[in-house]
Symmetry: C2
Amino acid sequence: MSPPGLYDRPPGTDDAKLIDIFYPGDQQSITYGTKSRVGIGGMEAKVKAALWALQGGTSVVIANGTHPKVTGHVITDIVEGKKVGTFFSEVKPAGPTVEQQTEMARHAGRALASLDPEQRGEIICSLADLLTEKKDEILSANKRDMELATTSGRLSQPLIDRLSLSSAKLNSLAIGLRQLAVSSRDSVGRVVRRTRVANNLELEQITVPIGVLLVIFESRPDCLPQVSALAIASGNALLLKGGKEASNTNRILHQLTQEALSSHGVADAVQLVSTREEVEDLCRLDKLIDLIIPRGSSQLVRDIQRAAKGIPVLGHSEGVCHVYLDNEASIDKALDIVRDSKCDYPAACNAMETLLIHRDLLRTPLFDQIIDMLRTERVKIHAGPRFASYLTFSPSEVKSLRTEYGDLECCIEVVDSMQEAVDHIHKYGSSHTDVIVTESEETAEQFLQQVDSACVFWNSSSRFADGYRFGLGAEVGISTARIHARGPVGLEGLLTTKWVLRGTGQTVADFSEQGSMKYLHENIPVPQKGFS
Amino acid sequence: MSPPGLYDRPPGTDDAKLIDIFYPGDQQSITYGTKSRVGIGGMEAKVKAALWALQGGTSVVIANGTHPKVTGHVITDIVEGKKVGTFFSEVKPAGPTVEQQTEMARHAGRALASLDPEQRGEIICSLADLLTEKKDEILSANKRDMELATTSGRLSQPLIDRLSLSSAKLNSLAIGLRQLAVSSRDSVGRVVRRTRVANNLELEQITVPIGVLLVIFESRPDCLPQVSALAIASGNALLLKGGKEASNTNRILHQLTQEALSSHGVADAVQLVSTREEVEDLCRLDKLIDLIIPRGSSQLVRDIQRAAKGIPVLGHSEGVCHVYLDNEASIDKALDIVRDSKCDYPAACNAMETLLIHRDLLRTPLFDQIIDMLRTERVKIHAGPRFASYLTFSPSEVKSLRTEYGDLECCIEVVDSMQEAVDHIHKYGSSHTDVIVTESEETAEQFLQQVDSACVFWNSSSRFADGYRFGLGAEVGISTARIHARGPVGLEGLLTTKWVLRGTGQTVADFSEQGSMKYLHENIPVPQKGFS
């Protein structure tokens, strides 16, 4: 198979790397293959021709039109500026490439991971202090972003809400960071399991950082210090890719983060990727990045899940959350919980999208009060097919029961029983957060057991589904994935484990039928997190 | 955008499903769109034409040549028998489709998850009993597979070794299963974290099954009861896809598994997928399958990681394990550990592939004894570039320092120090299992801390990297992924968690600056696993 472009060494050798952009000055760093093999030879001649064309003022790309990674439209891809093959350029861009940033981050990340937990805590506290000290500068950068967003008119109101910072938001950020600095003391290197495998053969499972994280976020710049603090606390290196709309705010928040990191000589552990970098190109760096965390719209998350080849993605693509009002619901609790779940922050993923009402509640005072409350709060109501069939004059019927409105809108649907509510949630929900309001403990416990979502709540607002409110400190995101981390993800989601075995020369042959040793497999107690 | 084939309802509506194979008798189950929209209408006419052609004896596929999911070679894909669009067929195949099997499994899996832990334990013990009781039948089915494999000559010796069952293997399987039945008692529904969020607002994080697992395995039929027992213990539904070469053995092992399951009415929770199903097609069932676990060659795992779109894959694509002999290594330990790591079972992923030797050991008795031992054990030696440069007459030089031989072969390379060994392992290893042999505790602890692999061992054989030897009961695989589960994966890797919040009407507004409530976030101790 022919190679997809120019490599720095003969393709197929241990350390050969595909060169994305080739500058004439780089020629010494390339080793061409000496043996002439079919399909590999001839690259040196191609490079000479390309450089000759470049000197004459012609842009050149060396690419492979039949390589399976290419969609089959090499020429159009090149014209559209996609990273295909090797591009020959006279001009070296300013600043490091994203690959170099990743290497710098991994290197500094290892130094960060080898610091004492107290030192990582100091970095986070110093970042928290900077958020308060430099509040004016942050808010003025944010104001510039807000003005640009408003005048350009390209962002919807919910996105503009997410973009906005305030004194209160910065204060609550700083509180979360300090909480994290304390709770993270026993995160990295913590023993989670200890087993005496045999005499003088002891096994430990300990927590370690995942490696290099890539966090891609839209609009919300408060995400930057939160995620940075989590990466610092967990000893991970971090690449941050923010949206253009928040570039001023992100720039200063990243400067403050590096300022905090530099107090222990690890400023490079957190890198801000240029807004010019395409998300799709970042998602292809599967040898360099260990986990991608998208924070933003469902569309962003879906796009990244599709683009990320071989890199795990932690995130929720949708938050279609339900509140189910049981026939034994308390009026007061129902009103408070529905109002809070829908209206507290409608743009959030943990806001209610569908209200399920037990049939017996129709034409009761509770029902009328709920509808009045939603009208007072200016919530636009869409009717599910069954709800519509009960009404003489119903609101517009929903297009899909799977809609995430993300705004002051919701769907109302009628169900015959708690069981039907569970079935509805399994069929149309996104397994994010679902709530039952009832005074019956028995019904509640059945709902909590049966509903297969990341968060299931009884008599409390869906808006509690959040790392800070759960007491996890800062939050890295909410995951509706079913593996690794589920629901609000704090520090634990950024750690993995490794197994450490200490022996005195044991072999598995010693434990064979003819061998002299026996497995003991005794669990040895370990200190419980939070109670050390 | 035009749809990729025929749907049972108008495409875009909530419950529309793409039909893979259409039989003339199925026509009643389809609802066509009533409104004529551009690009969606006209399907009814196409179906009539297709049925008319089918009656005339012509095979028909309705597909979309411009749909982005299609690689661009629709006609060749159809001719090669790939699942593209909707295929019209006169003949209904015998048995359920894989989609129907998945639904059956999910349904029975929910019943399995709602059993008492003791009942799931009974099923596993009864499977263990059956492995012993029906030993003769199993071994005779396995003999048929072995004979076919040997006469066909298409399997390499390591693969044939993996295919082979024996009395001893079945016994050790049964022991593992009974161990699992006991240790799994407190797996599902276990509280892992409990927090008093505020007065009368309590949060619990509890373990729950992941959902529907797909395990794809080659050759090793002993994998089937192991993985089935793990799925049963963890309350997961399971689809098993075995290799053709083990079909006789797999069939009887699956029958015994269903026999054990049927004692509690959940026989369908474990399904054996027909050998005709293509792995690529199974990897596309992302709405139906929650986790794919490939067990087999590195090539199989890599293929599945590439094919699995949106479904997480748990597995290791390579096991390039190192043993590093430090300059302070004990001769006896070094000999035992190198022999066991390489020769005990060379086809295993935890076997040693590269032996790193400290430079000071060259031309010492230890070095000579190691080489003599490897020769006696008939291990073919390949020389790393540095090792070759030290020798007058060296063995053949390695092509790549990243080779997984999977046979009685290994690479030897020389390093200057423990630090250089760590760097070598990071550069060429697969982060699976790496071992240091040394009498210096200080050097050992540095190696254990720095090497970033799933398993890091001091003075013990790499072959201990195994769920059974770690005391995890049966093993679902070894993961070199960095998230969710790492290293040998037992039951824990098949569980996820959900968050259960029990309140009395609380809203997040109650906790705002104007609100009446305060977060407490008190951790409440929970019973530790294995010490209940």
